[in-house]
């Protein structure tokens, strides 16, 4: 059973064919990775699936439902959540409120209840604060709940973004280079963390990652993009043995 099915997805920016006729599937409960050299179109692919860009052609199906033409926030409510390659947190909200933003977007009180501070609103806010704390604890950030994201070191900011993305309890979690900038110990911890949350939530994950160690350890299935096109797909062994993939990575720095 596939949680995500993408068919012939393409987008052009002026002359740049950033993503060309890419088709891929992600199986429910699995970790599917997208790798490829810099500028291959990986982030653009994420931006298309999560609704930031509208594709020039092609189709995106989530859990059997066509979401191609939906807006970004609608896609979020359908069950796709994501993190960003260049961390994008809300710097004037506390770390707890950053996580809560995902739950706030799903809280059902109206503006009158809000301005009057009615009991229904208070109750919902309290519930959501507690729920957010649960997600903060999950990524081991419970002790900095009241601090701001920009006072956190890089690795913790990445974890906070992960907690925020998890809080909406998505059907599909998309992580854009979540291990970038982490030191080797943090990378190990990150791999552990992903295993842990997958155990808790039975998540389907789509992962973009440059660190092949992370990719090969975690992925059930791997897609390789190059110059906007799909170059290869397969499991970890197949990809590691693929000559075309090795050639595409020649001259690329492994970090």
């Amino acid at each position: 059973m596939n949680i995500l099915e993408v068919t012939d997805l393409s987008i052009n920016f002026g002359g740049v064919k950033a993503v060309q006729n890419v088709s891929m599937r992600a199986e429910k409960g699995s970790i599917t990775s997208i790798i490829g050299p810099n500028g291959a179109g990986k982030t653009t692919f994420f931006n298309l699936v999560s609704g930031i860009y509208k594709p020039t052609s092609g189709k995106v199906m989530l859990d059997g439902e066509d979401i191609t033409s939906l807006k970004q926030h609608e896609i979020s409510h359908k069950g796709i959540s994501r993190t960003f390659q260049n961390i994008r947190l809300f710097n004037q909200l506390s770390n707890l409120q950053n996580v809560q933003s995902a739950l706030d977007a799903r809280a059902n009180y109206n503006v009158f209840e809000a301005v009057l501070g009615l009991p229904g609103k208070r109750k919902k806010d309290k519930e959501n604060r507690e729920r957010s704390r649960y997600f903060l604890d999950l990524v081991d950030l419970g002790d900095v709940a009241e601090e701001r994201p920009n006072s956190l070191p890089y690795g913790k900011q990445r974890r906070l973004e992960l907690a925020r993305a998890l809080a909406s309890e998505p059907k599909l979690l998309m992580l854009d280079e979540p291990a970038a900038g982490l030191n080797p110990t943090e990378v190990e911890e990150f791999i552990e963390l992903i295993r842990k949350i997958q155990g808790v939530f039975d998540l389907s994950i789509l992962l973009i990652e440059h660190r092949l160690k992370v990719v090969h350890t975690l992925s059930n299935h791997i897609y390789v993009l190059n110059f906007g096109e799909l170059l290869a797909e397969g499991n970890s062994e197949q990809i590691q043995a693929n000559q075309e993939v090795i050639a595409a990575y020649m001259g690329e720095d492994e970090d």
């Binding site: 999560s50 930031i52 807006k71 970004q72 926030h73 979020s76 409510h77 959540s81 994501r82 960003f84 994008r88 947190l89 809300f90 710097n91 004037q92 909200l93 409120q97 809560q100 933003s101 995902a102 706030d104 977007a105 799903r106 809280a107 009180y109 503006v111 809000a114 301005v115 009057l116 501070g117 609103k121 806010d125 925020r164 909406s168």
Partner: protein
């Protein structure tokens, strides 16, 4: 009413309008350069109803606020999907257009002569009472999902949308709320000054308000209140120098923006301080001495 009471009443009513700028700029990060036009809408609605009908003041106030919200909705609808810099420009245009319209519909609105003979029904107690209610409602708004949505949008629109926030809808909400508050201020001002002159509500006034919010600290309701009060009373204090008012004001704004880019209050709220002080009394005195952060 005494001189000081009357000065304070006017300042209090102006303060309400400045609070609308806090909702837009401080919370949501939207620059409205034509916000004073909604004050004009409120003042005219109130003026015309007060002079030509016998509706009680409460009803007039409600209708004025409704008109402010309606016009903000109509202006906001095409605006909220645009980029921020365009929003500033377009609200500037809309603002001037609304004022010009009211100015030129002379048979309905009295044109450039404005409206005279509005009954004076404002006093300092009423003004302060309304302001207090407004602050209460706005603090609740800020501390609700809506306030947090607004701040999220101000910080990172793309990320806010990715969390499931309907960004244009929240911007429109902020716009309508601000329009209602500004119109309320205009309506009360009509009952305070007893006449309306349309020329008083141009973009210069809107830009004044933007400056006030910046000086107080864009992200602080308390800061907005304090700086709004200072700038409203300043011309009274410096009456002799009224010509130089704009220079003094400009100098203050420049100094603050250069040396305190976060404004006087940054993100601090008086209510935080009250909570902190209350917290200190609960804890052991030993902790009280330490300055955290």
């Amino acid at each position: 009413m005494g001189y000081y009471a009357s000065v304070l009443t006017t300042a209090t009513i102006n303060l309400m309008a400045i609070l609308s700028m806090y909702v837009l700029m401080g919370l949501t990060g939207i620059f409205s350069m034509g916000q004073a036009a909604f004050m004009c809408v409120g003042a005219y609605t109130a003026g015309m109803l007060a002079v030509r009908t016998s509706l009680p003041m409460v009803v007039v106030v409600v209708i004025s606020v409704g008109m402010g919200m309606l016009s903000a909705f109509l202006v906001g609808l095409p605006v909220v999907k645009l980029r921020r810099d365009y929003i500033a420009l377009i609200t500037l245009g809309f603002g001037e257009a609304i004022v010009a319209l009211l100015n030129n519909l002379s048979n309905v609105t009295g044109g450039a002569n404005g409206i005279n003979g509005i009954p004076r029904k404002m006093n300092i107690y009423l003004a302060l009472g309304v302001l207090a209610v407004l602050i209460f409602l706005l603090l609740n708004f800020k501390n609700s999902k809506f306030g947090r949505h607004c701040i999220a949008i101000k910080n990172d629109e793309l990320s806010a949308a990715a969390m499931g926030i309907n960004v244009p809808r929240i911007k429109l909400l902020a716009f309508v709320l601000a329009g209602g508050i500004t119109a309320l201020s205009g309506c009360l001002m009509a009952y305070n000054t007893t006449f309306i002159e349309p020329m008083a509500y141009g973009s210069v006034k809107s830009i004044d308000w933007i400056c006030f919010v910046f000086v107080g600290g864009v992200s602080s309701l308390t800061g907005t209140l304090v700086s709004g009060l200072i700038f409203n009373l300043l011309p009274e204090v410096l009456r002799v120098f009224s010509l130089y008012r704009i220079i003094v004001q400009g100098a203050i704004v420049l100094l603050i923006i250069n040396f305190m880019p976060q404004g006087l209050f940054g993100e601090y709220e008086l209510s935080d301080l009250v909570k902190k002080v209350a917290g200190l009394f609960k804890k052991k005195p030993a902790v009280a001495g330490g300055d955290k952060q």
